[in-house]
C-alpha cells in the first residue's frame, strides 16, 4: 500500500508563480485578452501619472532652480512641455492647510492638541493597551483640555474660531461631532425602543426627520434659523452653530446603528437582568449597552467615516475646513489654475484618514467574529 501512497508533485503549471498567473490572469483566451488589454492601459497610464506627480513635478524649486512663490514660476507654466505637478503651492500654503489662520506664535497649542488627540484615541483603538484605564481618564478630560488649549482661557490668549481653519477645523468638527453624537445616539436608540409610547414616538420622529433631509439643509438651519430661535444676546459662534447641526445629524445615524446592536441582544439577557431585580438604567448600562455597543462598533466606525467626509459640507456655509482652504488658495491670483494639485492633496489627506478608519473597522469586524459569543447558542 505504501508504494501507492508515494507522494506525487502536482503538475508544475498549477503551482508557484506560473500556476498563479495561469489561474488568475490567463485562465482562458478571453481572460488573457482582458489581462493584456489592462496591462497595456496601465503601461500607458502609470508612467504618465508617476511622471506628472513625481519625476517632473516641482516641490519647492522650479527647473531653473528658483524657489516658487506664485503659479507663474511653476515649471509647467514656464514650459508646458516639460513641467508636471507644481506641489510648491502645498509647500508654501502648508501652514494654512494644517492650521488655517491660527496665529503663528500660538501654533504650539494646536500642535500640542494634535499630539494629545493621538494619545486620547490610543486607548479607544487598542483594547490591550497597558495602563488603558489611566489613558481612558485622559481621554475623558481631553475635550475640556483641548477646548481651553485651542480657544483660550486659563492664561492662554483667546484665539477666536474664525481664525481656525484647514485640517484643524476638519478634525475639530469630525471628532467633536462623533464624540457628542455617541451619547445622544445611545439615548435616542434607547428612546426609540422604549415601551413608553410618547417617548418612542418622539425619538422615532426625530431620527426619521434627520435621516430624511440632507445635511446641507441642517447646516442652513444651524446658520440661518438657529440665531432666530435664540433670545437676544446669545450670539453663537459660527463653528458652534455648524457643530450643532453636524452633531444632530450624526446622532440620528448613530442611533440607528446602535438600535441595530440593541436588537441583536437576545431577550434572555433582558429577562436575566430583570430577574436579578435590576432597574431599567442599571440593566441597560451594565448588561445591555456594553454588549450592544461592542457589536455595533464596526458600523459606528462606518458612519463616522461618512461624517468625516461630510464635514467638507461646511464650506458651503462659509467655514474654512481643509477643502475650504484649498478653494481659498485657488481663488488667490498667485495660485490660480493649480486646481489639480490642490484637490489631489486634499483628497489624499481625506483618503489617509478615511481609508485608515475603514481598515480599522475591518480589523474590528474580524476580531469580533472570532472573539464574541452572544450567549444565544
Amino acid at each position: 500500500m505504501n508504494e501507492m501512497n508515494e507522494v506525487r508533485k502536482p503538475p508544475v503549471a498549477t503551482t508557484g508563480i506560473i500556476g498563479w498567473l495561469r489561474i488568475n490572469l490567463f485562465f482562458n483566451w478571453t481572460n488573457s485578452l482582458i489581462t493584456l488589454f489592462v496591462i497595456y492601459c496601465l503601461y500607458q497610464f502609470i508612467p504618465w501619472i508617476l511622471d506628472w506627480t513625481i519625476f517632473s513635478a516641482d516641490f519647492k524649486y522650479n527647473y531653473l532652480g528658483e524657489q516658487i512663490t506664485n503659479q507663474e514660476m511653476c515649471s509647467r507654466n514656464l514650459d508646458p512641455e516639460n513641467g508636471g505637478a507644481c506641489w510648491a503651492v502645498i509647500y508654501v500654503r502648508f501652514y494654512q492647510f494644517i492650521y488655517g489662520f491660527y496665529p503663528k506664535v500660538e501654533v504650539w497649542r494646536v500642535n500640542l492638541a494634535y499630539i494629545m488627540l493621538a494619545f486620547a484615541l490610543l486607548p479607544l483603538l487598542y483594547a490591550k493597551l497597558p495602563y488603558r484605564k489611566y489613558f481612558l481618564y485622559f481621554t475623558y478630560i481631553f475635550p475640556v483640555i483641548a477646548y481651553f488649549l485651542l480657544n483660550g482661557g486659563f492664561g492662554f490668549t483667546e484665539v477666536s474660531t474664525n481664525k481656525w481653519g484647514g485640517l484643524l477645523v476638519t478634525l475639530v468638527l469630525g471628532c467633536t461631532g462623533i464624540a457628542l453624537a455617541f451619547p445622544i445616539g445611545i439615548m435616542l436608540a434607547l428612546g426609540r425602543r422604549s415601551k413608553l409610547p410618547v417617548i418612542s414616538m418622539m425619538c422615532t420622529l426625530f431620527i426619521e426627520f434627520i435621516r430624511g433631509v440632507p445635511l446641507i439643509t441642517l447646516l442652513f438651519f444651524g446658520m440661518v434659523m438657529l440665531p432666530l430661535f435664540l433670545p437676544e444676546g446669545i450670539d453663537m459662534d459660527g463653528l458652534v452653530r455648524v457643530l450643532v447641526a453636524v452633531t444632530l445629524f450624526q446622532s440620528a445615524y448613530m442611533a440607528e446603528v446602535i438600535r441595530g446592536g440593541l436588537q441583536a441582544i437576545p431577550p434572555g439577557q433582558y429577562e436575566a437582568a430583570k430577574s436579578l431585580g435590576m432597574s431599567y438604567w442599571r440593566m441597560n448600562l451594565l448588561i445591555i449597552l456594553p454588549q450592544a455597543i461592542r457589536i455595533s462598533i464596526p458600523p459606528i466606525v462606518n458612519t463616522s467615516i461618512g461624517l468625516f467626509k461630510d464635514t467638507t459640507l461646511v464650506i458651503i456655509v462659509g467655514i474654512l475646513d481643509l477643502l475650504g482652504i484649498g478653494r481659498g488658495t485657488l481663488a488667490d491670483t498667485n495660485w490660480l489654475g493649480l486646481s489639480y494639485e490642490i484637490y489631489f492633496f486634499v483628497s489624499l489627506v481625506f483618503f489617509i484618514f478615511t481609508f485608515g478608519m475603514s481598515r480599522y473597522s475591518l480589523y474590528l469586524e474580524k476580531k469580533l467574529k472570532t472573539g464574541i459569543n452572544m450567549g444565544a447558542d
Binding site: L25, V38, I39, I216, F220, F350, F351
Partner: protein
C-alpha cells in the same frame, strides 16, 4: 416590602408621569422657541407668511430643461424648477449608478485578478474621498475644457466646450404622438405576454420566446409606424453664432459634474453591495444548477441574481436615498436644484428663512418617503415567499 415612595413605584403611574413630564417640557421649549422667534422676526423686520411665493423672483436660472424660466417669474416657480432639477439629477444618477455599480460588482468578482484589483482600487478611492470634493473636481475639469469657439466636435453633431455639451434637439411633429402611443401599447402588451408565458410555462412546461417577441413589439412595430407616417421627427442642430451656440439641446457643465460625481461615487457603494449580495448566495446553488444542466448565463439569471437581489435591495434603497440627498450638494457648483435655487437664492432675496427651509426640508422628506415606499413594494415582491 413596599418602598415609602408608595405610588411612585407603581409602573403605570411612573410611565404616565414621565411621559407627561416629557410632553410638558417639550411644549414649554416649543413655546419658548416660538415666542423668541416671533420677537426676533419682528425686530429684524422679516416678513412672515407664504405670500412671498407669489412675488417675482428677480433672478435668472441658467439650467431649467423642463420649464421656461424668466426673472419675472415667481418664487413658487423657482421652487418647481428646483424640484425638477433635483429629480432630474437624482433619477439619472440613480440609473447610471445602478448600471455602473452592478457591472463593477460583477467585475470585482471576476476570476481575473488584475481586473478585480483594478475595480477594488477604484472603489476604495471613490468611497474614501468626500463627494463634495469629487463634485468640485469634476466641475473644475469640465470648465477647463476648450472655449466655445474651439469646442470639440464629436460625431459631427455634438459639441463639447466649457459651456457644456450641445446636442441636436429632437422636434416632434404632429404624427409622432401615434408612435409614442404605439411604444406604450407595445410595452404593455409585452408585459402581458410575459405574464401569460410564465403562467403557461408553470402549467404546461412549454416555453415561449418572450425576449425576442418583446423586442420585436417594442422596437420594430413603432419603427414601422414611424416610417409609414413619414418620419415625423427632425432635429434642430446647434449653430455657432457670435460667442455662443444657438438652438439645439444644451447640457450644462454643472449638471454633467453633478451627474458624473454622484453616479461614480454611489456606484462604488453599490458595487460593494452587489458583490456582497452575489457572494451571499451559497456555492451549492451554483453547483446544483450546473448539475441539472443549466447554461452558465441561465444560472446567473435564474438562480444567482434572484437570490442575490433579496440581499441587495434593502441597502440599495438606502443608497438611492443617499444619492437623492447628496444631490443637494449642487449648490457648490451652482446647479440650480432645490437647495441652491429655492433654499439659497430665494431665501437670501426674501429673508424668509423659516418658510423656505421648511418647504425644502418637507420636500426632501417626501421624496425620501416616496423612494422608500416604492422600494419597499419592490422589496416585498422579490422576497422569499413561503408557499
Amino acid at each position: 416590602m413596599r418602598s415609602n415612595l408608595g405610588f411612585f413605584s407603581d409602573e403605570k403611574f411612573r410611565s404616565i408621569f414621565f411621559q407627561t413630564l416629557v410632553v410638558g417640557l417639550f411644549a414649554l421649549g416649543l413655546f419658548f422657541v416660538i415666542s423668541t422667534t416671533s420677537y426676533n422676526l419682528e425686530k429684524r423686520n422679516i416678513a412672515t407668511g407664504w405670500s412671498f411665493l407669489q412675488n417675482p423672483a428677480g433672478f435668472d436660472i441658467s439650467f431649467s430643461p423642463f420649464l421656461e424660466f424668466k426673472s419675472t417669474d415667481t418664487h413658487l416657480k423657482v421652487y418647481f424648477v428646483g424640484v425638477l432639477n433635483t429629480l432630474l439629477v437624482s433619477i439619472t444618477g440613480c440609473i447610471a449608478a445602478t448600471i455602473l455599480g452592478f457591472i463593477l460588482g460583477i467585475v470585482r468578482l471576476s476570476s481575473n485578478w488584475l481586473l478585480s484589483r483594478l475595480v477594488y482600487i477604484y472603489v476604495e478611492f471613490s468611497r474614501n474621498v468626500p463627494l463634495l470634493l469629487q463634485i468640485i473636481l469634476w466641475y473644475s475639469i469640465l470648465i477647463q475644457l476648450p472655449r466655445v469657439k474651439q469646442s470639440l466636435q464629436v460625431l459631427d453633431v455634438f459639441y463639447i466646450s466649457n459651456r457644456g455639451l450641445y446636442s441636436p434637439r429632437p422636434i416632434f411633429e404632429s404624427g409622432f404622438s401615434y408612435v409614442s402611443i404605439a411604444i406604450v401599447l407595445a410595452l404593455i402588451s409585452s408585459f402581458l405576454i410575459n405574464r401569460w408565458a410564465k403562467k403557461r410555462q408553470d402549467k404546461t412546461g412549454q416555453q415561449f420566446p418572450v425576449f425576442s417577441s418583446s423586442i420585436g413589439l417594442i422596437f420594430i412595430v413603432p419603427l414601422i409606424l414611424f416610417f409609414i407616417l413619414g418620419s415625423p421627427l427632425s432635429f434642430e442642430h446647434p449653430e455657432l453664432k457670435g460667442f455662443n451656440f444657438k438652438g439645439g439641446l444644451v447640457i450644462r457643465p454643472e449638471f454633467i459634474a453633478m451627474f458624473l460625481a454622484l453616479s461614480i461615487y454611489t456606484a462604488a457603494f453599490i458595487s460593494e453591495i452587489v458583490r456582497a449580495g452575489i457572494m451571499s448566495v451559497s456555492k451549492g446553488q451554483r453547483e446544483a444548477s450546473a448539475a441539472i444542466g443549466l447554461k452558465q448565463t441561465w444560472i446567473m439569471r435564474l438562480i444567482i441574481i434572484p437570490q442575490a437581489l433579496r440581499v441587495i435591495v434593502p441597502p440599495l434603497t438606502s443608497q438611492y436615498l443617499n444619492l437623492t440627498k447628496n444631490s443637494s450638494l449642487g449648490i457648490a457648483v451652482g446647479y440650480a436644484d432645490l437647495v441652491h435655487g429655492f433654499g439659497g437664492i430665494s431665501l437670501n432675496q426674501t429673508g424668509q428663512a423659516i418658510e423656505c427651509m421648511a418647504i425644502v426640508m418637507a420636500t426632501y422628506l417626501s421624496i425620501s418617503l416616496t423612494i422608500s415606499f416604492f422600494m419597499n413594494i419592490y422589496n416585498r415582491s422579490i422576497q422569499f415567499k413561503e408557499k
